[in-house]
């Protein structure tokens, strides 16, 4: 019976849900109201971009989704299950989330394949399976031939690909990314955007991408959440109508530029 109800109910349950989320940071000197009244529902396989000025709380919002920060008030749910039970993090739910930080944060003492397979090692998966999966992911993110290299031997773009592969290693349902391409040059960044699009399609993961680049957001996302600062709140949610996969040429289309202009306008008003 439970099996029946699961299949019947599952499509209706959103992948991620934020309900009335508030976050205040208390320091000795001051209380900072970082986020207020955040209500957001993210559907399965959706690609969401979060944009806003620096200091608007977008990183905090992502960290709340990742379970790295506990909201002061409100609920975070993944597939209908609450992320927090009091002060305790529901580890089973967290295991379904993959996180890519702004800095790749690779371990310099591990080779590329060992870095990618680290989450699998922590889950007690045997070495042979780990290696096979790492090779598979190297192919997916375009690192074939670099399996045995140390992170220091890689370029910035390759390091971030390794970090993405690491986050994908345990097939998370949701991929949370905090300005993953912020440190890359413009050309590498464009290529990484294309690759991220095909990775998202191949893995059918739900993606939440924090970025400060408007074009990146419009190019990749199904919906764009724009945050206003002090305290961070959702100012607008823009639906991007273009079907995926998208070509880089799209960025010159008038409809694309209309959306980008409108977002830019809203951001400027906050400044």
């Amino acid at each position: 019976m439970s099996a029946v109800s699961k299949t019947a109910v599952a499509p209706a349950v959103p992948e991620l849900e934020l309900v009335g989320v508030e976050k205040t940071f208390e320091t000795k000197r001051a209380t900072t109201h970082a986020l207020t009244a955040i209500d957001l529902t993210i559907e399965r396989e959706e690609f969401i971009a979060i944009i806003g000025q620096s200091g608007c709380g977008k990183t905090t919002l992502l960290r709340i989704l990742a379970g790295l920060v506990k909201p002061s008030e409100g609920a975070v749910r993944a597939e209908g299950r609450s992320l927090w039970d009091g002060a305790i993090l529901d580890s089973e739910t967290v295991n379904k989330l993959g996180i890519v930080f702004q800095d790749p944060n690779l371990f310099p003492w591990y080779s590329v394949e060992d870095n990618i397979a680290l989450p699998l090692k922590l889950r007690g998966i045997d070495r042979k399976t780990r290696r096979a999966r790492a090779h598979e992911l190297c192919e997916l993110v375009g690192l074939t031939g670099f399996e045995r290299a140390y992170p220091r031997e890689l370029s910035g773009g390759m390091r971030q690909r390794t970090a993405i592969a690491r986050a994908l290693s345990y097939r998370p349902a949701v991929l949370l990314m905090d300005e993953p391409f912020g440190a890359l040059d413009a050309m590498t960044r464009e290529r990484m955007n294309l690759e991220l699009q095909s990775i998202a399609a191949a893995t059918r993961a739900t993606v939440v991408l924090v970025t400060h680049a408007i074009n990146e957001a419009v190019f990749l996302a199904d919906r764009i959440v724009l945050l206003s600062p002090r305290p961070g709140r959702i100012r607008s949610i823009t639906r991007v109508p273009f079907p995926r996969p998208r070509e880089l040429d799209l960025e010159t289309a008038p409809e694309f530029q209309d959306i980008a202009r409108e977002l830019r306008h809203q951001l400027d008003e906050d400044a």
Partner: protein, 264 residues
């Protein structure tokens, strides 16, 4: 590519040339300025004495072994206690704060000044020298480990946290590897200090070890022998340092301090 090969070979070519140059200046100095052979014996006298010593290992091998044992055992104690104390103080902040003034005070004591005390307390035998070697090597190891334990990158910690790693997993995949370069940095300083401790200990008491041979040669005013024993001590120091350095290269091949020049 050409340049890289050249850079790799350079030290192997430059070192013999520099050594030859030093010996030439030495020889020139002793022959031209008629320095008393008691002050600075000509290099060929020292070389002859060293060769004689080599041919009669019964005269020095036991002494070298004793110095080696004192140094290595003292260093071993320092390594174990240094890692444990450093890790504990690095992790327990209030404890480190409580003992910091005392640690600094102990650290700035010129510890060789305490050697006569140790000779009184622990006798003229091996024990006092082992303890001196251990105390000298302890501080650099402990302080490096303390620093290392605290230098784990917050971003790396966050990765482990986001992956739901437990304490043991975080230690074995992160803290251990991250601290190891600091342990080796402490060990490379510590092994040299342990040898210094053992030798100075031998100067002041007892009748064995290479340090004792130095004192005997000095009392006999046998300058070539004195220089020969000093060269033996230098070789012992190199061997010990390169042993530690070799273990480091094996254990942390990924670390910056191990990477050869030319790799970018």
């Amino acid at each position: 590519m050409e340049r890289e090969r050249f850079m790799k070979l350079l030290p192997w070519v430059s070192t013999p040339i520099l050594l030859a140059l030093i010996i030439a200046i030495w020889k020139f100095g002793t022959s031209t300025f008629s320095v008393s052979p008691f002050v600075l014996p000509p290099p060929e006298d020292v070389g002859r004495n060293l060769l004689e010593l080599m041919q009669r290992p019964e005269e020095w091998l036991v002494h070298a072994q004793i110095t080696l044992v004192e140094t290595v055992v003292g260093f071993g104690f320092a390594l174990v206690t240094g890692v444990v104390v450093g890790a504990v103080l690095g992790r327990i902040f209030w404890l480190e704060l409580a003992v910091r003034p005392l640690v600094v005070a102990l650290q700035v004591i010129p510890k060789v000044a305490l050697i006569p005390l140790f000779v009184i307390w622990f006798g003229f035998g091996l024990t006092s020298k082992v303890i001196i070697a251990a105390i000298l090597a302890f501080f650099p190891i402990m302080l490096n480990v303390l620093l290392g334990v605290r230098s784990v990158e917050p971003g790396h910690r966050e990765v482990m946290r986001s992956l739901n790693a437990n304490r043991w997993q975080t230690f074995s995949s992160l803290d251990f590897h991250s601290t190891l370069p600091y342990v080796f940095a402490g060990m490379e300083v510590g092994i040299v200090l342990a040898l210094i401790g053992a030798i100075v200990g031998e100067y002041l008491g007892g009748n064995e070890g290479l340090g004792y041979m130095v004192v005997v040669s000095l009392n006999a005013l046998d300058a070539p022998r004195l220089f020969a024993v000093i060269i033996l001590l230098a070789v012992l120091g190199w061997l010990l340092f390169f042993a530690v350095n070799g273990i480091k290269r094996l254990m942390i091949p990924w670390h910056e301090s191990v990477i050869e020049s030319g790799i970018s």
